[in-house]
Amino acid sequence: MTAMTIPAQIPTGDRADEIQVYDLHKSFGDVEVLKGISLTVRTGEVVCVIGPSGSGKSTLLRCVNMLEEPTAGRIFIINEEITDPDADVDAIRTMMGMVFQSFNLFPHLTVLQNCTIGPTAVKKVPKAEAEATALKYLDEVGLKHRADAFPAQLSGGQQQRVAIARALTMNVEMVLFDEPTSALDPELVGDVLDVMRRLAEIGMTMMVVTHEMAFAREVADRVIFMDGGVIVEEGHPDQVIGNPQHERTRTFLNRVLHPTHVHTGEEDAAYAARHAAELGSGPEASGELPDPALRTDNPGRSRL
């Protein structure tokens, strides 16, 4: 249920264990963001990573393709160690695409050029061939007709679909998604999730950091709940989201699934206790928040 047991043989040597992470630690200065993460993502698997902000889930994803350099631990991509100082990180990265929260399309290039610059510049694919591939994927995300537009002329949802096509034109084995819908207007989220759902259906290996619980529950093969830099709970979405075993998971899901629900009472008390030092004189001094312990109107929390 919690941290997986580390296998005797590292890496496993199994081609299907596409992403293998062992005892990953990452610190920014004095702050340890990841405190020993181990996980495996297998071919065709869709793994959704959920958790409160600051739990380290984006950092984990960015460590997998070395956009952040881990402080300790080993990561293997198809049995090649990307954390090895001698590794050809650029070559390993060509096997995995990445989709960012803020799209990060290249604004000085057209949609088509965004999709062809990777194959032509990195893999030296002939231009005509790269364009044919790019148009095929742009068609799949429904944006072939905008191939000559510039990113600034597209909506956020369209930009994110181009970003997915850009990742796919590298003929990647797996795609990493870093909160792909968090920067989108609500009415544009669906189109992007549709593309991702279809990608999952055709068997793409996907690691998705997301707040879209409905998507995670429907599409994911496995859900990982992270909090405080560790994996708290991991398993089938029906289990982790539908029937969480840990109090932290339950609290988080409650807040995400019932965002308008007002939480007071013992959670505030627990927060105040955790942050007593920073709060200094604390809420009592401000005179606005009553001492949580004295509150009697603590609404009963709903269960999932």
Binding site: L67, R93, S102, I117, A121, A163, R166
Partner: protein, 276 residues
């Protein structure tokens, strides 16, 4: 205290409203302008002004005795120095951002030095280099000398602009490029620099305008007549005739170069503002 404030509103004349006040100030400003213009018209001898600044026969002489050549030289000096400065400036900007500390130091020292020293001194020094080191020859003399000297000075200014432009490209752009498997050099060349130069085109054009005017400093190099630029050319004819007309014409020639550039910068800035 309380009694005076109570009485104040009744006793004293009513204070002007802000709108009335602004109107009155505007009227005064118009009045001052009118007085100055009238005084100028009454006191200035129009014919004398014309003969000092716009003498017809001297205009003819100036236009026909090598003005095109001088204009061309100004453009050549400026353009060459700009290309030199842009190249060196890009290199310096990349050095300033380098992971290797000594590169950063060297670039910083260079930039601070050449921004702090008058361009005139640098030009003088370069003019004397071939005297100090006999046998040292810049290619295409005197163009090579001017391009190097002015280019080295403007590179210091441009380096800071280019560095700012590189830093203005969002970090996500490099990350997206690296995530595609691009090595860092390729990401800089294909993704960051094209965007950085787009951002800094207006300030770089301003630098080109400044450089156009700085090219007038070339007069300190002992040049032959065929290498004269606008300022030296106009000054020589002005000196020998004791009249300002040739200098005025040279000045207008600078405007022919700089005004379109200024206009261009303003349009680019307006466009950039709209795109944002």
């Amino acid at each position: 205290m309380t009694t005076t404030t109570q009485a104040g509103t009744v006793g004293r004349p009513k204070k002007l409203s802000p709108r009335k006040r602004a109107q009155r100030i505007r009227l005064v400003q118009y009045a001052i302008l009118l007085v100055v213009v009238v005084l100028l018209i009454l006191n200035v001898d129009g014919r004398q002004v014309q003969s000092v600044f716009f003498r017809t026969d001297l205009i003819q002489v100036t236009l026909t005795s090598g003005l095109p050549r001088a204009l061309l030289n100004t453009v050549l000096y400026t353009f060459g120095a700009f290309v030199f400065g842009l190249t060196l400036g890009t290199l310096l900007a990349l050095m300033r951002l380098s992971q290797v500390a000594p590169y950063r130091w060297i670039a910083s020292i260079y930039i601070e030095f050449f921004r702090g020293v008058p361009a005139l001194i640098v030009l003088l020094a370069f003019g004397l280099l071939s005297v100090a080191f006999p046998g040292l020859r810049f290619p295409l003399d005197p163009y090579g000398t001017v391009w190097t000297a002015l280019g080295m000075v403007s590179a210091a200014y441009m380096a800071e602009t280019i560095r700012a432009g590189i830093l203005a490209v969002p970090k996500g752009q490099v990350e997206a490029a690296r995530a595609l498997g691009m090595p860092s050099g390729m990401a800089m060349r294909r993704i960051v620099l094209p965007q950085a130069f787009r951002i800094i085109t207006p300030p770089l054009t301003n630098e080109l305008i400044l450089l156009t005017k700085d090219s007038s400093l070339v007069y300190v190099l002992g040049l032959t007549a065929s290498a004269f630029e606008l300022t030296k050319f106009g000054r020589d004819i002005s000196n020998s005739n004791g009249n300002l007309t040739p200098l005025v014409i040279a000045g207008f020639c600078y405007l022919i170069i700089t005004l379109p550039l200024t206009f261009l910068v303003r349009r680019m800035e307006a466009k950039a503002k709209k795109a944002r």
